[in-house]
Subunit: 363 residues, 2 copies
């Protein structure tokens, strides 16, 4: 049976990075008879330019039907003034919501060859391997009301609503506990139960889920602000962190920056397993953005995009050996001192986007 991939390169450096993944897909089809079928669409600013929407209905339908979506990046100054509803990010948010991709997996690992690129002291980040599990379809991102109202006296009032139901917290904490079992068996749950009712419920439900089904896993709780501090102070104390959509956005970005490997970090966004087939809907995207300042020059680092495809092989197609090999190829290329400009260091060889892709393919 064919494995279907829907490619959404997006804006900025998205298309360049996606090209390198295409090479790997072709290679896998030719040499390994992997049987990937790919189709491609527009998202973000490029979709707005073509259709006046951040993603077209036709492309949404294709994303829904595919085994997995590979997503590049969206946004750029060109679209800073477009209406809120069709801003580039709206395409990504709609994909997350309509595909019900509630579990965002953000590994923060420090590639040994890059430890010195971190702003932290090397001994604090060498060997760092955290997995942040961010709830992705709830909370303040999607809760209603979400409005700006004119109060009539020169005053406006803006409202956003953070909403969490028991089942949403249950399913994301289950993912966290299951992931922890394949790693160092420890979960740290972060919220602000001292000021937020959603934090109180979050804490309760995580605790109950743990007790009911995962009491073999070690569970800690930390206030999210203290969690941010601890990430900076001693990041290696963490294994799996589970947190809500907004705290997850902040904390995963801080964690990513700690590694010194920001341009290299992938992410996976997964839905619930289908009742019949057991398949999860999924979207894979690099953590970095569209970097409009360097787009189109062939100098962008494609590693995060390629590493996102490795996550896709692992989580959507259970191609564990292939995923391992691809991740190993990335590490080997770095060990050889082959670098794009963003991670260039003394004594290394500077290459462009395509050469980096080729080097990884060669491995």
């Amino acid at each position: 049976m064919a494995r279907t991939l829907f490619l959404l390169p997006g804006d900025g450096i998205g298309p360049e990075a996606m090209n390198e993944v295409r090479k790997i897909i072709s290679y896998m089809n030719e040499e390994l008879a992997a049987g990937f079928e790919t189709d491609e669409g527009l998202v973000g600013g490029s979709a707005y330019d073509a259709h006046g929407a951040a993603i077209s209905e036709a492309d949404m339908a294709k994303a829904m039907a595919a085994d997995a979506v590979l997503f590049g990046a969206v946004g750029g100054p060109k679209w800073d003034a477009v209406p809120y509803e069709v801003r580039p990010e709206a395409g990504l948010l709609r994909l997350r919501k309509d595909l019900e991709l509630f579990a965002n997996l953000r590994p923060a690992i420090c590639y040994p060859a890059l430890a010195s690129a971190s702003s932290l002291k090397p001994e604090l980040v060498e060997g760092l391997d955290i997995l942040i599990i961010r709830e992705l379809t709830g909370g303040v991102y999607f809760g209603e009301p979400k409005t700006i109202t004119d109060l009539g006296n020169g005053q406006k009032r803006a409202i956003d609503t953070q909403v969490y139901d028991t089942y949403e917290i249950e399913r994301i904490s289950a993912v966290a506990f299951e992931m922890a079992r394949t790693r160092r068996n420890t979960v740290c749950s972060m919220e602000k139960r001292n000021v937020m009712k959603s934090g109180v419920l979050w804490n309760q439900v995580v605790t109950e889920t743990h007790k009911a089904k995962y009491s073999d896993v070690k569970l800690e709780h930390m206030l999210a602000d203290a969690g941010g501090m601890q990430l900076v102070r001693a990041p290696k104390q963490f294994d799996v962190i589970v947190t809500d959509n907004l705290f997850g956005d902040m904390l995963s970005d801080v964690a990513a920056m700690l590694t010194g490997s920001l341009g290299m970090l992938p992410s996976a966004s997964l839905g619930a397993p289908d009742g019949k087939t057991g398949k999860r809907k999924a979207l894979y995207e690099p953590v970095h953005g569209s970097a409009p300042d360097i787009a189109g020059q062939g100098i962008a680092n494609p590693i995060a995009m390629i590493a996102s495809f490795a996550m896709c092989l692992r989580y959507s197609f259970n191609l564990v050996k292939e995923a391992d090999a691809l991740e190993k190829a990335i590490a080997n290329v770095l060990d050889k001192g082959i670098r794009t400009g963003d991670i260039m260091a003394e004594g290394c060889t500077k290459v462009g986007t395509a050469e980096m892709g080729d080097a990884i393919l060669a491995e």
Copy 2:
């Protein structure tokens, strides 16, 4: 006219740290005829134990009447299970709200003697001097509805509401621009306008306030998640950061941790100037918490509490020379290698809470 101070030492190490401030107040009254009148109350767990509330009505009235409130710290495992409405933090939140302390000033400075204590590379934090201005009486901390509802099918729903009105954003950005004028004249405003309507309004109002009255100050905007990253990557790029209550909570804690001087950082929470007297209500508190694990041992670091009192001298009483002298005394003591356990380093002299207070007083 007497200068009135209301002392709320609170829980954990709060009382020990406050003792050292008391010594300085006595000294100033005796040697400098500073004329401070002090009164004292209970807040947090200690207030709960005495009155069943996180702060009593009588103490609230005294806080309202005083020129300034000095606040220690609240909380501890002893009160982890008390009802939400009377948890220790509720005392602090009520003080902020009822005194309308909308402007929270959190300096993140790196004491030169402590640069090596940071988890960041020393060259990234040496000389660091950021001022985070956090909105403190609005946003998700206080917005209604703030509820947990039983949905009846084994499901609960938690709701928190982020609300901001134009005037709230206007007044906090005015504080930021005015502070910037006394510093390096640059403000960076942080929000998530790409996902939050309150971020959209925040961005608009800051921009308009800037245009109307502060166009001499340099203004930048950054998404809050990117802001967290940039704080870790290159904190010295910032002068004044202005942001909402929740982002301010996260970002100021990350910034505090960067300095390596966490146990040393003060904060000020200010209200609007009174129409007649021009006086602002104010509360001063250390950034660190109640540290129940080391409470009562006489080993806590009182510097953050003392530095908070220096902010009090500066902002509530315009005693600029005295504030400068006190801050200088702290720096001198650190330069001499006098350290409490939390900031101990090789070749330094380890002292307890009281000795540290005495050493600063001696300077």
